[in-house]
Amino acid sequence: MTTARNRARRFVPLIAGLGATALLLTACSGDSGGGETTAPTDLTYLSFAENTSIQDTLTSLSTGSCSTENEALPLDITTQPQASYDQQLQLLAGQNALPVLFASGNSPQVAKDLNDGGKLVDVDAALEELDQTDAIIPAARSTIEALYGGDVYVLPTEFNVEGIWYNKQLFAENGIDEPTTWDELTDAAAKLSAAGVTAFSADGQDGWPLTRLVGNYLFRTIGPDALQKVIDGEASLTDPEYVEAAAAVADLGKAGYFGPSVGSIDYMTAVNQFLTGEAGMFYMGSWILANFNDPAQNQIGAENIGFMPFPEVEGGAGSRDQLAANVGVPLALSKASYSDDVSAWLGCFAENFGSTSLGEQGVITGFAVNEPVEDLPPLTQAVQERIDETTQSVLWFEALFNAKAATTSQTNASQLVTGAITPEKFMEMVQADLK
């Protein structure tokens, strides 16, 4: 016993030493400063593996309009699966090794943290220096400002409006006019359901298409600042008027409008359900136009698809004119590697990205389209017109949440609509993670 105790005593200083070293190392790690600027030799670009349109546009620019910039600073693309993207970004940021240009993360909070750490280029100032202040269209600028607390330190490589797409033929067959109020929407869903059609196609596996409905309902009842109030601490998701939104969406599930197995339906299944005429309505962003404009996927015909803004709720403070919008996968620039060559790339990017992306990928971006693009599919053209008409946009349910609350919201959404958890419990769980 004494020998064992003596042996143990011998290890105490060693363990204490290792512990203290670990503490010191931990405290010293993760320098949050921006670090020195070092001119890069390549335009390194890191993005989600799942998003190919941005890299295709960049590649096209590197061989076309921006070939001069590309000669000085060749484009070098790397991708990372979206699920582990934030982890990769944390590691690179911790080592002061951020790529020159990169997708700013899964939630706006990641870019906010990076900017607070002094690691991002102030895009607004950089564009002003390049005399490109009009490069970002006003609607995209206001969405960015709403997302990032008034600052512009990301590039809007997409600009999507969101709303409900509907099958015109199914609506006509069932005598349904485009709903403008929530009651009309639920009536339409009831008629479709009675006709044996799934009223709403929805990706319950990922959850966010369901929570988008909760968010929109809140924007229509309380107004465009409904979720800002929650973030500012002026309101809580557990307040009755907030719980009402979750309850309204839960009621859609209770009535069976999402079909019998919404929790098991993934994104592509939901898209297919709508494009094969199995579902009457589909809440989605305008990025879905690529699928709609593809005849191989779209069996109901692009001419058969209509778009309606989220309906108004009687007596609510919001209106149908306020379309939900987002900027897709915003890109950020690392301050540590922002050199003259990068600046030249940014100038060319600002001038040409909008038209190249629209012309070659069919993706509407947040950049001004400087070269007119001919022969756009009618549906894309209609959405483009709708964007031009939009004077005020709203965000989505999780836009201002931290990563924890956003995950809780999305992973519990299918439970909300299947009745596994109550609307009160759902909002309580999300609110608890907002702290």
Partner: protein
Amino acid sequence: MNRVLGDWRAILVLLGPALLVYTLVMLVPIFWSLGYTVFEGNPITGFEFVGLNNFATLFTDPKIADALVFTLKYAVVLTIAQVGFGYLLALIYVFWLRKASSLIRTLAFFPVVLPTVAVALLFQELFKIAPQNGLVNDLLNLVGIQSVDWFASPDTAFLVLILMDLWRSMGFYAVLLYAGLVDIPDDLFESARLDGASGWRLVRHIVIPLSLPVLLSSIIFSVNGTLKVFDSVLALTNGGPGNTTTPLTLYMYQTSFTYGEYGYGSSIALLLTIICLLVTIFIFRSSRRDLTKG
């Protein structure tokens, strides 16, 4: 030999490289992680010293309680199932199939070598309901039972998870326990049979006590493995529906890397380490009784 072992320089040359590698890849990360438990933040936002706050949060976070309950439930159910079925298979190999068991052993062991993600995808296909029914729902429909959305309810999702991990692991425990059973000398069985022991009495008084060391090792392997379950849950249910199938490991991963809370994530890791240690000590202590003495 004694001269070499008494020479500290020789020891240093022989052990030094391995010790250095072990220290760098095992000890430093462990203590580094331990260091994180008193900090808050991540490499993007920087770190801030918070003392014992992270440990205090462990006691107030309702998700910890949920994850702990799920982890323990999963560990208990799967340990009983995989060691129990593994032992049953081992007994069948030794006493029933005897020398003809090699094909069955290979077949039962086969799922062990398959990658977890591939097995999870296979089970997702088997139990799926949308867009089309999987094989299981088709079979249910065949006998007049409605399709079940297996991954929509916590109970059915747990059941599929247990079935998948049992199928994946029982072959390993069967082979492990088989090795322990074939080690028991034949003459012991013969003398027991001569004394009139057979069936359950033979198993109770001869087989179990003599295979106890390997049985114990299997239980410790199983408990520690199941307490640290991660990949199969991530691939099959991703912790859902909601967070009803989220074990401590997955919650630790989400906390550290998805939510960017390295310090709190490390505290969860420490909690899991302590639980593994306590359970192992408990199993060791409870096994001290000599079963051959009734």
